[in-house]
Subunit: 390 residues, 2 copies
């Protein structure tokens, strides 16, 4: 046993509860049982061929050295054009910093904004890693309860009620994980105005942009131009394992982000940056859009099917690939239900524990990151289990 | 102008001084001048063909999804075998965690070990990012002067004199950047014993292991088994831009490192992890060893050549690809000399400013990360400049 005392932070950062469930799911599969995976926060499509091909070409061309900390200039320009082409939002490429995933961007953003002893407002439920980016820099995550009343989005009103003089930043995500709900333009602008009024940082996580099944989400670069906008090649662009993301921020902060990138990461992956250039071609776009159509079809099936079974899914889960269900009509312990679903029905879904502090036992996340037939099978199995009496 | 106050940390973290010099070098090159680059901390060889090929194959096979936070099991095993095969050091693969570069490993290690208000001992001169990994978690970097007397390595005696009850960790590197010098087995073991006695963490950065030109360096896994050992595929294995490294630590800490990896990074690059498997094949090994021979030949040329010109390079720079020269016999301002070398001789080298606090104006780092003919040209140009009277 080591006599070294680990940091207090090490104890505050919790492993994900879902890990035990995942281990159990793998065990069952190893024992030959068929599991429908509705717990996975990753598209079930591999990286699109044009992108993979561009990655292979970059490797063949020897693009394997470090890059400038801010990113490959062509990629920063391609992202800027993407905002102009698809969102009518002109963005100076110099305001874009390429990062190792949205994850790396969130490390940089929190390091830029929050000091020890300050607090950071987070929607609850929300993305489970967010509180731990805050813990990394020894600020305090402050969970702000959001409900279906605001489509699970933080608003200026909620932020105002929760903020205090030690609030350093506010983190929001739209479309959100675990709820799949979107922030409206007015709400985002209101939040941006509140953040500006108080002089606190606003971090807008847009990693699920592109994956919307109704109106497109409000754009941070338009409605919250003074914020740090986080994005990624992981989800819409299907490059999870490549570890590539970006951030957009006020020009004056870019040197700060670049020096942090340089010190903490040197640069983001070079093959990934070259491959990502292909994300903006027509061929790749067509693939992404057909995948979006597949997600939409799944959402259109799963949402009414789960509601039919007694899962209460309020609001408008019109983006990402998640549904967040209130299961209190079915159980008083979502973790127990998740276990029963896995063990007795062969369906893996994530209980609320990792996503929220307010009422984890009442909630469960279903991801539609598996094929339609599998979702149909999953729903059928859930129905059987519930008919058998939970 | 944003009214948001950035973190105090943002101000404490300094950009590298060498950036201005690099920008100037690029300007000169754009204007058609030939520059000999002796400032670059990256092998001048592209990734070896078997590794690139493995990366291409992984992409073709669709290996593009997230991996477990601790890394690809086969890669952890391959690294463990590497310790057994080349260093006669058995290491349990379960003690190995795969990271986004040594950089990512250093973020995780500091997050594990140091709390705000504590301090971390660092050799001065040393790797410039180290102090900023410490700043990230709001601990205080405490520079400990090391000299040629200990081959620029921190020893138990030096650590004992510098440590206080608020010391959380000690960071060392061997072979070191910027000095290229190695820690001996007895010194490393002594430091490990001191760290254990005090219950402070020891971080041993072995990123330049494999690049030694005399006796191999002492191995952390052998002589400091209770430490966090940092390594990378960047240097000996020639994979800088892929962003892949690893850490070895006491088994009981692995769950902590994994939860940090998972929260902060999700996982390290998937194509990179698959490609890295090829680093342990015979074909790749032969390439790495021939590159090591090339580095050795360059070192054997450059060290006496610079000494001949009045650069005082004490100690035994027997590893990495750096020489750290005391230039006080030639100038009283190393930054000025670096500028003159660049502007008037077309040679880029790094002044001491980024590496040390003790006597930056007396020191300069030369990297032999360029071909022999270029080094010869560089030395000839330096000689001319010095003959012309600095
Ligand atoms: C809301 C949200 N933000 C950020 C991330 C991090 O993703 P990445 O680092 O792959 O870009 C995720 C991943 O699931 C997420 O759901
Ligand atoms: C001493 C030392 N440690 C760590 C690193 C980080 O390297 P990487 O993140 O590429 O593994 C470097 C890079 O130059 C280094 O010189």
């Amino acid at each position: 046993m080591s006599m070294v005392t680990l940091s207090r932070r090490s104890h505050r950062i919790q492993p994900f509860h879902v890990m035990a469930l995942l281990a159990r799911a793998r065990e069952l599969e190893a024992a030959g049982q068929d599991i429908v995976h509705m717990e996975i926060g990753e598209p079930d499509f591999p990286t699109a061929a044009p992108v993979t091909e561009a990655g292979r070409a970059a490797l063949a061309a020897g693009e394997t050295g470090y890059l400038p900390a801010g990113g490959l200039p062509e990629l920063r320009e391609a992202i800027a054009r993407h905002y102009a082409d698809h969102y009518q939002a002109p963005v100076d490429p110099q305001r874009i910093v390429i990062t190792p995933g949205a994850s790396g961007a969130l490390v940089v953003a929190l390091a830029m904004l929050a000091d020890p002893g300050q607090n950071v407002l987070l929607p609850d439920p929300g993305y489970p890693c967010n509180r731990n980016f805050v813990e990394l820099v020894d600020a305090r995550p402050r969970a702000v309860r959001v409900t279906a009343d605001t489509d699970y989005q933080l608003t200026a009103g909620l932020a105002r009620a929760a903020a205090d003089p030690r609030t350093a930043a506010i983190m929001v995500g739209s479309p959100g994980n675990p709820t799949g709900t979107l922030a409206g333009a007015a709400d985002l602008a209101g939040l941006a105005a509140f953040a500006e009024e108080r002089g606190v940082g606003l971090i807008v996580d847009e990693i699920y942009h592109g994956l919307h099944y109704g109106d497109p989400p409000a754009q941070g670069v338009v409605h919250a131009p003074g914020s740090i906008i986080i994005n990624s090649f992981s989800k819409y662009f299907g490059m999870t394992g490549w570890r590539l993301g970006w951030m957009v921020m006020p020009a004056e902060w870019v040197p700060v982000a670049e020096k942090l990138m340089q010190n903490l990461f040197i640069s983001a992956s070079t093959p990934a940056q070259h491959a990502a250039l292909a994300c903006f071609g027509d061929e790749a776009r067509a693939i992404f859009e057909s995948r979006r159509a597949a997600f939409r079809q799944r959402r259109d099936f799963l949402l009414p099917a789960l509601r039919e079974l007694g899962f209460h899914i309020p609001g408008h889960p019109d983006g990402a690939f998640y549904l967040y269900a209130d299961v209190s009509g079915l159980t008083d312990d979502s973790a127990e239900l998740a276990e029963a679903l896995l063990d007795r029905a062969g369906v893996a879904a994530t209980p609320g524990l990792d996503f929220e502090q307010t009422a984890p036992e009442r909630h469960m996340r279903f991801a539609y990151t598996t094929a339609m037939e599998r979702l149909e099978a999953g729903v059928e199995r859930i129905a059987q289990l519930l008919r058998a009496g939970g």
